[in-house]
């Protein structure tokens, strides 16, 4: 217990401002203490080691111990672990192997992907740039998969499906399933195999962050109606408003930091191993997850929507008919109602009252329409493969029903 407290004390004693200043200082005056190249050792450390070497200790083991302790202490001045620590981290190597990452992706990059911007505000050492790239790739692959596989999905359901496949909650769950552990506090001395981020102070309201980044005009007017179409233009991929800028002084939630890490891994694979590897990674880790899209619909008035849909598609107006029933006079009646358009049965549903059964039938008819999926779906990015067959245009639908 005492030891834990000591460690905490040692890292909290150095305020983040003091560390950034010292780092900025070194950065400006070219001390070169943080190099991306792993070959060049830290200058400060080499000095310290040479000093130690002068004092001749007889015990070699003890010397080793003292040296490593000095080195670790030297790392304390950095907000995130130095680059050369990545090679010696067992956790990082295990994570690399567990994800079957390409060998072209060095452990140093994986270590960088584990450092959140809240832990290390320096853009050269945190994962913000990798995560930006990874996020764009992820959302692109997910979008093209959804749009080509289910061309008739309403936009709100596409938003929900995007959130389910590539939203922060899913990414955080994936990071957990990859066995990524969190460091309790970021710092230069912690194992680079741990996810490092500065946590939110207890008691802060996470939802209260101002929407400073949203480009939507009149965003402050909460009572005003927001159309779905405007969400494409003003909001993010999941149909949510952009959150306020993640400032370096504040902390982030563990969910957000894990999501950023997963995105950064995606970006790192793309940079180091190329497009095919990134696509395979996406297919194996993201698309292989289970999602029942038919459970994402939330209709308010399915019968009305179905009537509008039939009018738009020049079908005959839908008529609900009882297919079978039992126990109309009893306490538990069951009605099976089908919705017909002319001779075609569009859908059917069972319910304890006629209205309920009709609603369910309309719902199944609408889901049958919206969940249409063509055979042999190809996505546009499959054209990037070598020797791909010539592109045939995919089915593009008219869009959802406007009521």
């Amino acid at each position: 217990m005492k030891r834990v407290q000591l460690q905490r004390w040692s890292s909290t004693v150095l305020s983040p401002r003091a560390r950034t200043v010292s780092r900025l200082h070194q950065h400006l005056y070219g001390a070169g203490s943080r190099c991306q190249s792993t070959a060049s050792p830290l200058q400060v450390d080499s000095n310290a080691q040479s000093n130690l070497g002068d004092a001749s200790f007889e015990d070699v083991e003890l010397m080793k111990h003292v040296r490593s302790a000095h080195k670790r202490k030297g790392n304390l001045k950095y907000p995130s672990p130095p680059v050369d620590a990545a090679i010696n981290s067992a956790k990082l190597a295990a994570l690399h192997a567990r994800l079957y990452l390409p060998s072209r992706l060095p452990p140093q990059t994986l270590a960088r992907a584990l450092v959140d911007a809240s832990a290390d505000p320096n853009a050269d050492f945190n994962n913000e740039s990798l995560a930006t790239l990874g996020h764009d790739l992820l959302t692109y692959y997910t979008t093209e998969h959804l749009l080509c596989t289910y061309p008739r999905l309403p936009l709100t359901v596409i938003f929900a499906a995007m959130y389910a496949y590539a939203g922060p909650k899913t990414l955080a769950a994936m990071a957990r399933e990859w066995g990524v552990e969190h460091a309790s506090l970021p710092g230069g001395e912690v194992d680079p195999g741990l996810l490092q981020f500065r946590r939110v102070e207890p008691g802060t309201d996470i939802d209260a962050t101002p929407n400073a980044r949203t480009p939507r005009p009149y965003a402050a007017q909460k009572a005003w109606r927001m159309t779905v179409t405007s969400k494409i233009f003003y909001d993010d991929e999941f149909g949510d408003a952009f959150k306020g800028p993640a400032t370096s002084g504040e902390g982030v939630t563990a969910e957000l930091a894990s999501a950023t890490f997963v995105r950064a891994v995606m970006g790192a694979i793309y940079l180091h191993a190329g497009r095919p590897a990134a696509k395979r990674f996406f297919e194996q880790h993201f698309l292989s997850r289970h999602l029942n899209i038919s459970e994402l619909f939330n209709f308010s008035q399915p019968a009305r929507d179905l009537a509008r849909l039939c009018a738009r598609e020049n079908f005959e107006p839908p008529v609900a008919r009882i297919i079978s029933e039992t126990g109309r006079k009893s306490r538990h009646p069951v009605f099976v109602v089908g919705i017909f358009s002319g001779q075609d049965k569009l859908g059917e549903g069972a319910g304890a009252s006629l209205i309920e059964a009709r609603e369910r039938a309309a719902l199944s008819a609408l889901k049958g329409w919206y969940l249409y999926s063509p055979l042999n779906v190809r996505v546009p990015s499959s054209m990037e493969e070598e020797g791909a067959a010539s592109w045939k245009p995919v089915y593009v639908d008219l869009g959802e029903v406007i009521v």
């Binding site: 190597a93 079957y100 060998s103 694979i269 095919p276 990674f281 297919e283």
Partner: protein, 263 residues
């Protein structure tokens, strides 16, 4: 003995739908069919296996390794405690010598499909999702994609991460169509792959054994171990694929797999 072998050869002619697993005399092949699994190996090993016409195009996507565009040897991250620098490629079943690896089945004759089957196959293929009733040691397992299986036994000679292909099934189907074999389907008609994800065990069972007029009780303990798997893929081959693989279309007859529509 002689008459039985003659009968068997006759039966082999008749029952073309269940080709080599019954009639063939190759012991290794029968052993492979006993497990009903044709082992898939990593890409480099697959080129060595003598049986190529059925080697699927997908195993690369099935293997967990992300990159394949890079031919250089993998230099995996090592645990720092082991200092010896050995380039080692993590492979499944690497310690099994080549001669003892299970051999994928080879077929003497191309697959024969009836005209009615070919005409109805597009309906079955087009309607997803699919299920398969795979049989393993004469027990049926109804599988769909993504299912978690806990076999009632410990499968020998598999490691976690291995990909197996279940090649004996009595039925493959979708919501409205079912292709039934008699009794089994030809393994070239469908693909069902599973990945071994590990070994689980049950809680220790203690059975008290008593005998009459004796105060001594014996405790019999047992704790069985089971192989757990995950279904990666259940797929019916399209008619075009079957024709590409050299399928021969014949007239309808009895004792052939049929596709039945739902009543």
């Amino acid at each position: 003995m002689f008459s039985r072998s003659v009968l068997r050869s006759l039966a082999a002619d008749l029952r073309w739908s269940a080709p080599s697993s019954i009639s063939s005399a190759a012991p290794l092949q029968q052993r492979a069919c006993l497990h009903q699994t044709a082992l898939l190996r990593t890409s480099q090993q697959e080129t060595q296996t003598p049986y190529s016409p059925l080697s699927p195009e997908t195993p690369l996507s099935a293997t967990p390794r992300v990159q394949n565009s890079q031919p250089v040897a993998q230099n995996p991250p090592r645990v720092p405690s082991s200092d010896s620098a050995l380039s080692f490629v993590p492979q499944t079943r690497a310690d099994v010598p080549t001669a003892k690896q299970p051999v994928a089945p080879s077929f003497e004759s191309p697959i024969q499909v009836t005209k009615s089957l070919m005409s109805r196959l597009p309906h079955l293929v087009g309607q997803s999702p699919h299920y398969v009733v795979a049989e393993l040691h004469a027990r049926p397992y109804l599988l769909t994609e993504g299912d978690h299986i806990r076999l009632p036994f410990l499968m020998p000679k598999v490691k976690s991460g291995d990909i197996l292909r279940f090649n004996r099934a009595s039925a493959v189907g979708s919501r409205d169509f079912t292709m039934k074999g008699s009794p089994h389907l030809d393994e070239r008609l469908f693909e069902c792959r599973v990945r071994v994800t590990g070994v689980e065990s049950e809680p220790m069972r203690i059975k008290e054994k008593t005998k009459r007029r004796q105060r001594h009780t014996k405790q019999a303990r047992s704790k069985h171990r089971y192989t757990i798997m995950r279904v990666m893929e259940v797929r019916v081959k399209t008619p075009e694929e079957l024709l590409e693989e050299g399928a021969v279309v014949i007239e309808d007859s009895e004792d052939t797999p049929t596709i039945e529509a739902r009543q």
